[in-house]
């Protein structure tokens, strides 16, 4: 197996086995979305109107929950030193780690969202649109979050700082994610307009994230 394929498989195994964050993120997502109707009350119209936003906030928090361990586990056990010394380029290593993280924690959120959308009394076309925006938008959250994870890799309790660093950067993704989901029913613009910008943000994060995170990791050892 090639170096990067083998890294992907290892990251995937670590995420889904005991102590990995994959199931934790999906469960957290479920809890957040389930709790909201209790707080907001049983107003079905209101729930269906704020549904896409709740799903997006839940997905954002669930992604952040496991991101702080993205590089820290490797730093804590000395694996990061060895990764830095390997032939594979660090940018590609970060890219592969993010893809594996998304496949293990982001993709389950996307798959669970249609079910949770029913809890929020959302229309079928809004459910489809929200799932599509999450599919395109959650990689952007992971890649943006990777920058924060790399910057806080040396801090023992870096999770909170990570959230403070990363949440402002995810605001554009949130705005365009939610607005394209609601555009189907309530919007004044067609679905594809905000959705294209969301897709562009995702691609931008996928390019910028690995370079920024790799630069941060190179300096983390000193």
């Amino acid at each position: 197996m090639s170096a990067l394929a083998s890294l992907f498989v290892r990251e995937w195994k670590l995420a889904v086995r005991v102590g990995g964050g994959a199931l934790m993120g999906a469960l957290f997502f479920l809890i957040v979305v389930t709790v909201v109707p209790f707080g907001v009350g049983p107003d079905l119209n209101l729930l269906s109107r704020i549904g896409p936003a709740i799903l997006w906030i839940g997905a954002l928090l669930a992604t952040l929950l496991s991101l702080d361990r993205l590089f820290q586990v490797d730093r804590d056990d000395g694996g990061l030193d060895l990764i830095l010394m390997a032939d594979a380029s660090l940018e590609l290593v970060v890219l592969v780690k993010c893809l594996a993280h998304w496949a293990a924690t982001g993709l389950p959120l996307v798959l669970a969202s249609p079910l949770l959308a029913v809890f929020m009394n959302m229309e079928p076309e809004v459910i489809a649109a929200t799932t599509a925006t999450l599919l395109v938008g959650t990689p952007a959250l992971t890649f943006t979050g990777a920058i924060g994870a790399a910057l806080t890799v040396t801090l023992k309790r870096g999770g909170l700082l990570l959230a403070i660093l990363v949440l402002p950067l995810t605001v554009p993704v949130m705005i365009f994610g939610v607005s394209s989901a609601t555009a189907v029913v309530f919007g004044t613009v067609p679905f594809t307009t905000p959705f294209s910008i969301l897709a562009a943000l995702g691609l931008f994060a996928m390019v910028l994230g690995p370079f920024a995170a790799a630069a941060a990791l190179r300096h983390a050892g000193e």
Binding site: R10, V18, L84, M85
Partner: protein, 212 residues
Amino acid sequence: MSIPVSRLSGQGLTLDRGGRRVLADLDFVATSGEALVVTGPNGAGKSTLLRLIAGLLRPVAGRLVLDGGDPELSIAQHCHYFGHQDALKAALSVGENLGFWRDFFGEADDTVYDALDRVGLARLVDLPAAYLSAGQRRRLAFARLLVSKRPIWLLDEPTSALDAASETRLIEIVGEHLDGGGLVVAATHLALPFSRMASLRLGAAVIAEAVA
């Protein structure tokens, strides 16, 4: 790596850590087929020197020169670093842990099973690494040096946590690496009976001299 290395030398290496000068104007020469044993009290900069060679720290002054080797690759890419940390994942089995590093480093050498056999862990190939003892973790980490071919081995306290039999085995394996034209830099505060060795003593005053 097909191109053999002949000599690794440091010239005037100076390095600061946390505002404190750890290495000052250090010169050393390590030749292939001979282990350079770095000794000195705690805090003398032994580990720092190894991390410097491994490319994990950058010197403020001085340079490292490698004679031989693949000119396309950095010095760090010629090195295996066997540090204090074992880089093992508790959730993966012994075989999976080692197999990952074999694929990741490339230049495959021994198979996973052969390498585990050489460090005496072949029976435990399917056991999760979480259940290994300190000495077994150390041996598994050392097996990483056997599954991928790199000519320079940087060993930081290689025999810590090992029993007498494992220590003898490790010395033998390092000896085989040296016989094959490999280069070894080992930091230790114990006497390591390598067959051919030079020594480098780092003092607390950090004025080091190479003793041939």
